[in-house]
Symmetry: C2
Subunit: 96 residues, 2 copies
């Protein structure tokens, strides 16, 4: 396992995506399918602005992807690596 500096940073960034309780709640909701910003915000009791800010970061990290429809934007998990990672963490919590 040879770890260059760049890869260490990339790995840290990946895990950072799930390293905050708000983002965890956002991702957990998206595990059930795509949702609008408003729906996410209401579902977890966060302001739409805060959710939008977090989604921006998640989008840039390619953790989620956005689909625009009319004036709404629907977000969903970008790829199954992410949901798999999330599920593994989830399982670990359940047993630990």
């Amino acid at each position: 396992m040879k770890l260059t500096e760049l890869k260490a940073v990339k790995l840290a960034e990946l895990f950072s995506a799930l390293s905050d309780a708000s983002r965890v709640r956002i991702i957990a909701q998206l595990m059930g399918g795509e949702m609008s910003v408003r729906a996410i915000a209401q579902g977890i009791g966060m302001s739409e602005s805060a959710v939008s800010h977090q989604l921006r970061g998640l989008r840039q990290m390619q953790i989620v992807r956005a689909r625009k429809s009319g004036r709404q934007v629907f977000y969903s998990i970008a790829d199954e690596h992410v949901s798999h990672l999330f599920t593994m963490g989830w399982d670990h919590i359940q047993h630990g």
Copy 2:
């Protein structure tokens, strides 16, 4: 997937363990087997104090475990869930 507030925090804490490049380097080294604090520090070019601080957090999160032998303390990955999680992230980086 029902996510209580407590579980969201626990999940975030778990991923936080790997959300920093220094910790990623520490974990990556420990993937090869147990190492002393000094060896870890030298291996990744960090001060022993900084490494010790990080190890403290990782210990509290049960990500690593410590074995004392004489005046040295050897650290290793606490359980295979962690190394599995790490490996998954690693794979994701390789292909992404």
